[in-house]
């Protein structure tokens, strides 16, 4: 297959799936009424964003940024390793996402306990 076309397909696939995840998550957040589904939506958005991080850091033909004797050589030649920074950032982002999800779930439990419903449009005692 034509390498340029191949590259395009891959990029459309990677970016497309990541952006698709974000949109699916947003859809869940904006449309689904169940609290748990909304939290799942938030997690999906997070996943999409994290995927974008990794995708952006990828360099064609690059290896993982872990040095062995061979790796040092490769670096000396030029661009043989993927960008390590997005990987480090995404690690942090994932952990933060986990923390937020945990708090969100606990709030869902609380809300269900108090309101005996998990529909977000039924929980609006605070308004105006």
């Amino acid at each position: 297959m034509d390498p340029i076309l191949y590259n395009k397909i891959i990029s459309v696939g990677v970016y497309g799936s990541a952006i698709g995840l974000i949109l699916i998550g947003l859809y869940a957040v904006l449309v689904k009424k169940h609290l748990t589904k909304i939290v799942i939506g938030l997690s999906i958005i997070d996943a999409g964003v994290h995927l974008l991080f990794i995708a952006v850091g990828f360099i064609k033909g690059g290896t993982a940024p872990i040095f062995s004797e061979k790796g040092i050589e490769l670096v000396n030649q030029g661009t043989a390793m993927v960008d390590p920074v997005p990987q480090a950032l995404v690690l942090t982002a994932i952990v933060i996402g986990f923390g937020v999800t945990a708090v969100a779930l606990s709030l869902v439990i609380r809300l269900y306990r108090h309101h005996h419903t998990a529909r977000i449009d039924h929980i609006k005692s605070l308004k105006w």
Partner: protein, 494 residues
């Protein structure tokens, strides 16, 4: 160990990790330690502010031994230093206020102090850091602490407010993450000074997209108009000291980040007009919504949003005088709104309901508390001789200097609305018919102390603003001098 800005972060974290262990030794320690830490940080602020004022140069602390832009650094300039000192000062007072605020001794009551301290640390970190991703991390610390504290009370509305806050806050962090990612792909660095330096290389379309993502994400933190649905709920459901903290620290951190992005990172002129327009809309809608509130804390929340709109307008004008006015207003808002939340909380506790109607005549039971609330109300609407007057005056003068008289007129008209709803409460407090409910909750000594300090500051600054204007002038100059920021941060170690 030399006193340095990292103390603001390291010590509270150390204390936070220690506190669960200390709770096993003595529960009282958990209450006391945040106070000790914050008092020490207040001392740090004094020392560092003195140093910065003397040299006129910012203190730039590299972390982990890596200079900017390779590592993360903390920037304690006259601008960030001013905000940080203000935050720490407020946090200390709020701690004093909330010390034994309610006589409960269960597990969450202890968690409260940890969460509160982290809320402070997160806000301070947002202001201090010189790295955009680190700012995001601190924002998330602040956010998670806020979510938990919002739903701290075990009534049903607390969880609702917390969930709304979390929902919107998560979207904010998503947009901010995306913006940071795109920024990184364009400039290859996360250091804000370096980003600012390289911003001109970014294609315009990409730049605008990144800015929009930032504005949406940070606008949520800064309570900008259509993004602030969470704010009234969170303010009104959180425990009162936390409401004060939101007004005094958290939203300040949000506004700071917005301002830092627009003033330092980007060089797009349209963003300033955008600030003015959004500020006006925020101000108008929030003040109008506050007018019809029946719940005191919710009214204070809307008023807080309105004030933030005012701050954004002032920053949007963008001249030196306007920025000065905006910073002055941030200072005033922190002090005054905290006082209002603190004194208001006692009224709410001791009235029949959370409604303003229930406050009728309660000032007769708490004459001193009513006095403090009135000072706060007079100050926040900008009546002389209280401190709020000066900030309003400076912003209006700055607007008039740019011949934006229509803007001045709008602000003043909205101020009339503000006067109406605050004075309605004041009139009700003193002169409504008192309800015959007995006093269930007397302020603690600490409560009296911190409120009195705030009132004294309001009066002092009101009578003689020059005790504070020097700091604010220098802070405004520092914020506007983008070139100096870049060269100061990047020249460390070179």
């Amino acid at each position: 160990m030399v006193i340095s800005p990292v103390h603001y972060i390291a010590l509270p974290l150390l204390a936070a990790f220690l506190m669960p262990l200390l709770a096993k030794v003595n529960r009282e320690l958990v209450r006391i330690i945040p106070g000790v830490v914050l008092t020490y940080l207040l001392f740090v602020s004094v020392v560092l502010m003195q140093r910065v004022t003397e040299t006129g140069q910012p203190i730039i602390e590299t972390l982990a031994g890596w200079q900017a832009p390779w590592g993360i650094n903390l920037v304690f300039s006259q601008f960030t230093g001013f905000l940080v000192s203000l935050m720490v000062f407020m946090a200390t007072l709020i701690w004093i206020f909330s010390y034994r605020f309610k006589k409960v001794d269960n597990e969450p009551a202890l968690k409260y102090y940890i969460l509160f301290m982290m809320l402070v640390t997160g806000s301070v970190g947002v202001v201090l850091t010189g790295d955009i991703f680190n700012m995001f991390v601190f924002m998330e610390i602040t956010a998670i602490a806020s979510y938990s504290l919002t739903s701290f009370y075990r009534d049903r509305d607390g969880a609702e407010a917390g969930f709304k806050y979390l929902l919107i806050g998560s979207l904010a962090s998503t947009f901010m993450l995306l913006a940071i990612l795109l920024l990184y792909t364009q400039v290859g660095t996360l250091n804000m000074a370096m980003i600012a330096e390289r911003m001109h290389t970014v294609p315009v379309g990409m730049k605008v997209t990144i800015l929009i993502l930032f504005l949406t994400g940070l606008g949520i933190e800064a309570e900008m108009f259509p993004l602030n649905g969470w704010a009234p709920d969170a303010y009104s459901q959180a425990p009162s000291p936390v409401g004060a903290t939101f007004a005094a620290l958290v939203v300040k951190a949000g506004v700071y980040s917005l301002i830092r992005v627009i003033f330092t990172l980007f060089d797009i002129q349209g963003a300033y007009q955008y600030l003015i327009i959004m500020g006006i809309i925020t101000l108008i809608i929030a003040e109008f919504a506050a007018m019809k509130q029946t719940n005191l804390k919710r009214m204070l929340a809307y008023s807080s949003i309105g004030q933030m709109g005012f701050v954004l307008i002032a920053f949007g004008i963008g001249t030196k005088e306007a920025v000065f006015g905006a910073l002055f207003l941030m200072f005033n808002h922190a002090i005054i709104k905290s006082l209002l939340f603190m004194s208001g909380s006692f009224f709410v506790y001791n009235s029949t309901s959370k409604d303003i109607k229930g406050l009728s005549g309660i000032g007769k039971k708490f004459p001193y508390m009513g006095f403090l609330f009135s000072i706060g109300a007079f100050a926040i609407v900008g009546l002389p001789p209280f401190s709020g007057f000066w900030s309003k005056l400076y912003i209006l003068i700055a607007a008039a200097d740019e011949s934006m008289l229509a803007l001045v007129a709008i602000i003043l008209l909205v101020s009339i609305v503000e006067i109406v709803y605050y004075f309605r409460v004041v009139a009700k407090l003193y002169f409504g018919k008192p309800t015959d409910k007995e006093v269930v909750h007397k302020p603690t000594f600490g409560g009296y102390f911190s409120m009195t300090v705030l009132a004294v500051v309001i009066l002092l600054v009101g009578f003689y603003p020059d005790i504070i204007t020097g700091f604010i002038h220098r802070a405004a100059d520092t914020l506007l001098d983008k070139g100096a920021y870049i060269s100061n941060v990047l020249s460390v170690g070179h």
